[in-house]
Amino acid sequence: MRPQHRWALVAGALALSLGLAACSGGTGAGTAGSGNGDPVKEIKVVIAEMSKDHTAAFWNAFAKTYQRRTGVKLKVQIISWNDVDQQTSTMVQNGNPPDILNLNAYASYAKDGLLYDSDEVLPDRTKADILDAFVKSGTYKNKLYGFPDLSSVRALFYNKKLFAKAGVAHPPRTWDEFVTTAKKITALGDGTVGYAQPLGPEEAQAEFSIWLFNNGGDWKSHGRWSINSPKNVQTLRFLKDLSVKHKVTQNNPGKTNRTDGAFPLFQHGKAGMVVGFGPLQAALDSDYPDVDYGIAPMPSSGGGPPQTYGVTDYLMAFKKAGNRDAVRKFYELYYSPDQINTWIKAEGFLPVTKSGLKVFASDPSLEVYLDTLPNVHLTPTDDPTWDKVKIAVQQNLGEAVASDGDPQKVLDRLQQMAESGG
């Protein structure tokens, strides 16, 4: 190589690596509009994709109806759950957020002063219709910013065939029963596991939540973080014991995700139990007819009344010049019963409104969820700190349940992080 080529190489290296690094950057100050100004002719809605089949279909139809009624164009952008965080963050960074955003968190946006509250854009009767649990979770500093769009509640799915084979009469009601049952099913052999436990980074906070609620624990109590409370430590030790001591779970639960790890085991009849929700039910019914499953409330540690863990997503509205009226009309239309309930039904989720609860009550397959919905436990999405704590939980819980993991230490660390504001 001739000497001058050295610089060509170095320059090439610089260009290549800069190009790549730059993909992660981008700047621009986000400027929050006041909502005043000339009314806009178009608003943009960013929706996280719930399913390939239904999300786009519903929102495209919705956009047409909205445009016909209001004369304002509705631009719909559907983004997969994997990318939605990254893309919305980039939009805000560039000072170009959507008018309406569908996400599972809102408090950080409210804290940054980017959002409209319910007094500004939500009709009063709509606010009154939203279930109390979701009003609570959507309220930041006494104002409702997180308008729920749909919800889901988790429950214990069990494989009836495996239960019968193992001679188990009914789904477990206490944690002791749960361990006994899981042991019996694991003993069937042939790669069968008693319980498919997803504590990998995808959604470790959900798996931990439903168990800790059933041990009388919580993420926060009386307004203070209680991540490392004795009850929570006990819960995480129990979860660790399931794989390390009792050996009734699949291999390496701390590194198993829900969608590509735990659910497939249950769907192929290899797992006796798994914590599931509506979409799993839908997948089982349509794609895995061989799996004869039942749905039961979660077992509680001492046999007390079962507690459920619920998730709601939010449709939040960004303050931008001139969009307030259009945004308000968006919510009027979205919360009309034939719109919101159509989408929730299509995606296999649960209602967030009192009127919706009545509509869905006629569906017997939802009974196990609907009974518990009004008293559902949610994660503290109303605290902006949770948005960071959640990710820390996802990235750390798996380590706590490894054979050399230390639940107390991991929870102490998370508690410390939460107390210092993330």
């Binding site: 690596s17 800069l18 965080d85 995700n257 790890g261 948005d387 704590v389 996802q394």
Partner: protein, 323 residues
């Protein structure tokens, strides 16, 4: 825009002028005209570089000095806090070690394998065209898709690799290729080599084809054996191609995101991340969730790879060439 006559005028004197310059030098006026013409020719590339490299790079550096909210909102200047935060991050030492292991463990076997493969592909044999195409496939396929396929192959319960090893009684129980810390990096590196070999092979194949038949003839006449020919004729003449392959691979592997990220997505924490996936996680998938820190990590990544390349070029003594 350059008009057609311009093109002809500019294009025609190209190569002869260059040889002339090398022999005896060229009048200055002519050189200036050449410079202007070159600028025309370079302008599309310069615009492209300006738009997709320089501008984002400026934005990146700017972002690295900004204080950002988790939402992406810029709250104000951060000074050098983003840089010190990245350096003080508890995962940083492990990430840097992983990066070094990853680059070395992929590039070295890749080059060795590609040398052998290029030698093989340069032979005349029936079906060579098909084999050459087949070698290209892993390179042409999307990295994310390739990586996702490998997660299926490596799967603990359903993966074909474990089925095979169990059937052959190589292992008594399945191996958790992607979850067991002892095997995770090895598995990721294997895929890294798999997707890097095609490009490297073709660079080396081009280098082999450029070696004139006469030197081999001379070697034969001098009575050189196969190994002597390879060691003293092929390898030295392949040096430029090897150098290019090595430098491009170091950069390419260092910057590789999809393979590491996809195969590692089930593992919590940062114990198998390289500096590139770490940068992404800092922005979106860690409790830091901080665009400013990620931008700082990005700037440091560029510096790191530049230093690595310069050190490499020093080590191989790029000046020592055709001599």
């Amino acid at each position: 825009m350059v008009s057609a006559p311009d093109l002809v005028r500019v294009a025609a004197p190209g190569p002869p002028a260059e040889t002339a310059r090398h022999r005896a030098g060229t009048p200055r006026r002519r050189q200036r005209a050449m410079g202007r013409a070159a600028l025309w020719w370079l302008s599309p590339a310069l615009l492209l570089i300006g738009g997709v490299v320089i501008y984002p790079a400026i934005e990146l550096i700017d972002a690295s000095f900004g204080r950002y909210s988790i939402t992406g909102l810029r709250l104000g200047p951060a000074g050098d806090a983003n840089y010190t935060n990245v350096l003080a991050h508890p995962a940083t030492p492990a990430v840097l070690t992983n990066t070094l292991v990853w680059v070395v463990a992929v590039v070295v076997p890749t080059i060795l394998l590609s040398l052998a493969l290029a030698q093989f592909l340069s032979l005349e044999f029936a079906g060579r065209r098909i084999v050459r195409w087949a070698v290209l496939v892993p390179w042409a396929a999307s990295l994310v898709i390739t990586s996702r396929l490998f997660t299926l192959l490596f799967d603990y319960y359903h993966g074909i690799l474990n089925r095979l090893l169990l059937a052959l009684h190589v292992v008594g129980r399945p191996v958790d290729w992607l979850g067991d810390d002892r095997f995770t990096m090895l598995s990721i590196v294997t895929v890294g080599v798999f997707v890097t070999v095609p490009f490297t092979t073709y660079v080396l194949l081009a280098g082999l084809n450029a070696i004139p038949e006469e030197v081999y003839e001379a070697a034969r006449i001098d009575g050189a054996g196969w190994w002597q020919t390879y060691r003293h004729v092929t390898l030295p003449l392949l040096r430029p191609a090897l150098l290019v392959a090595a430098v491009l691979n170091i950069i390419y592997v260092f910057n590789s995101f999809p393979v590491v990220y996809t195969l590692n997505d089930r593992n919590p924490g940062f114990s198998h991340d390289t500096s590139i996936t770490f940068m992404y996680k800092l922005a979106f998938k860690s409790a830091d969730h901080d665009v400013g820190m990620a931008a700082a990590a990005g700037v440091m990544n560029v510096a790191l790879i530049l230093v690595a390349v310069v050190i490499y070029l020093r080590l191989v003594d790029w000046r020592k060439d055709h001599s």
